[in-house]
Symmetry: C2
Amino acid sequence: MNVTAALKPQDALAAHLAADMEAVNALIRERMASRHAPRIPEVTAHLVEAGGKRLRPMLTLAAARLCGYQGGDHVKLAATVEFIHTATLLHDDVVDESTQRRGRPTANLLWDNKSSVLVGDYLFARSFQLMVETGSLRVLDILANASATIAEGEVLQLTAAQDLKTDEGIYLQVVRGKTAALFSAATEAGGVIAGAPEAEVKALFDYGDALGVAFQIADDLLDYGGSSAVIGKNTGDDFRERKVTLPVIKAVARASAEERTFWVRVIEKGDQRDGDLERALALLTSSGALEAARADAFAWAAKARAALSLLPDHPLRAILSDLADYVVSRLN
Amino acid sequence: MNVTAALKPQDALAAHLAADMEAVNALIRERMASRHAPRIPEVTAHLVEAGGKRLRPMLTLAAARLCGYQGGDHVKLAATVEFIHTATLLHDDVVDESTQRRGRPTANLLWDNKSSVLVGDYLFARSFQLMVETGSLRVLDILANASATIAEGEVLQLTAAQDLKTDEGIYLQVVRGKTAALFSAATEAGGVIAGAPEAEVKALFDYGDALGVAFQIADDLLDYGGSSAVIGKNTGDDFRERKVTLPVIKAVARASAEERTFWVRVIEKGDQRDGDLERALALLTSSGALEAARADAFAWAAKARAALSLLPDHPLRAILSDLADYVVSRLN
């Protein structure tokens, strides 16, 4: 009897890692405090306590435990990863001029952009201190490279938006920056801190990378109603913001001259009229773009599962495999 | 015959460290490139090439050379320090809504706040990669702590502005965040990379810290015309922005009830009228606040010079001593 069998994979992870996650949460609360600047815990508590799924720190813990780690530094690494994630959310909200995050008003709305920028910087600095405490130069190298990939991807996204020249290669780099780089750094660092053999460390990186890409492609598909192209409450946000995501890239690559004119008008020129979202959805479906993007998401999920085969047999390995299925199951 | 005798101290530093600085500049150009996101070098080149005085990287190089360093990692550290500085400038310009920096339009004006936030993040990440390359955990620790102090000081400045409860202790923390933390990290890290004895490393930290504090107090005094309280072109910028800097803190501490009402009106309430800057300058002078702040700046410069006595006799030591005098000589 596996008590976690009926749970969603992230809940099964949380159940397996409950004691570790309690330590991570305590460390996060301790380190986000600031003796001198009370604005800092106000802003961070708002975001950290809002209770994201804590998926990234759980990936680090799971990777370390799966490789047999018995020390305590995985907790520091997991908190590091969550701090980096929270810092990027704060900066993203400034960049996107967002007003809602996890169903609450964003920090930039509640306080101001200044606080979001500076408190984000503070969290980056705190994450940096935490990882230095692990004393592992290799971990530092992994997280430094991930930070650069994240920032580069974000800038790339800024310049790729509204530009139909964006191809699948650029899209993949944006996706690595937005999502996959921190996923893969989280799992890889967990393996490194556990002293796992190189093949396992590489497998953990590959798992996190593929999981992150699958996750983001699924997200981008859901913005167009998934493969069913049904218009829901949030359908078309990316369309209205003229983002060039995978479904659009594939549709544009398959477009006739007349269809291309449509895409240029709505995405590049931003001239969107009544019925344009419906037309876009029709083109995304008829061209096979949605179906092809969906196949890509499933292929990345399969790649994530395949990477796990190189890792030790362990209950956490089964949960991570389920997690890879789960991120694309939203597309069924 | 010392060929650098007639030069300003920072020019003497530049002359002494010319070959090292050439390597630093080449490394900066190499590392600020981005294969994928051309917006990044556009934004950074604008700022990096605008040619600040490069004082901070020179402090790192000078500290390392003064302690007899013969390796090459001081160049990486110096570039790291300049990247951190440039990143904070980019974020500061967003926070301050600045439109001019070093006589040019700021990046947030030329591009947008988004680019300034994200390219700042990119430079932080690149600086982090560079310092990891040195392989020194101690250097990483120094720079992680400095980053946290900088971010905390910036947030503190945000909340301390327009608040007359700000005391000299809080002011000092803001100053450490704005200026002194990176100066002291620059000099301390230079000593550490050179493998200098602890007493010298500590002296280098103390020098950088005191130099930074002296520099910032002098800057804040000059905003009120220095000790002469003469109104010049930029006099009163801090007053108009209702910043609570050392001269104001000292004047408020010495204020009569009627004078306090004035400070509350102009700084806390922001109700500034014709003649208020003149009244503020009169109060700053008559209360002795400007003179006392000037004495503080000179005391910090003396502290910086004193710290140098623990370091090896070296031409660079004499230049660093001159530099400490120079930052406050603007007040004569």
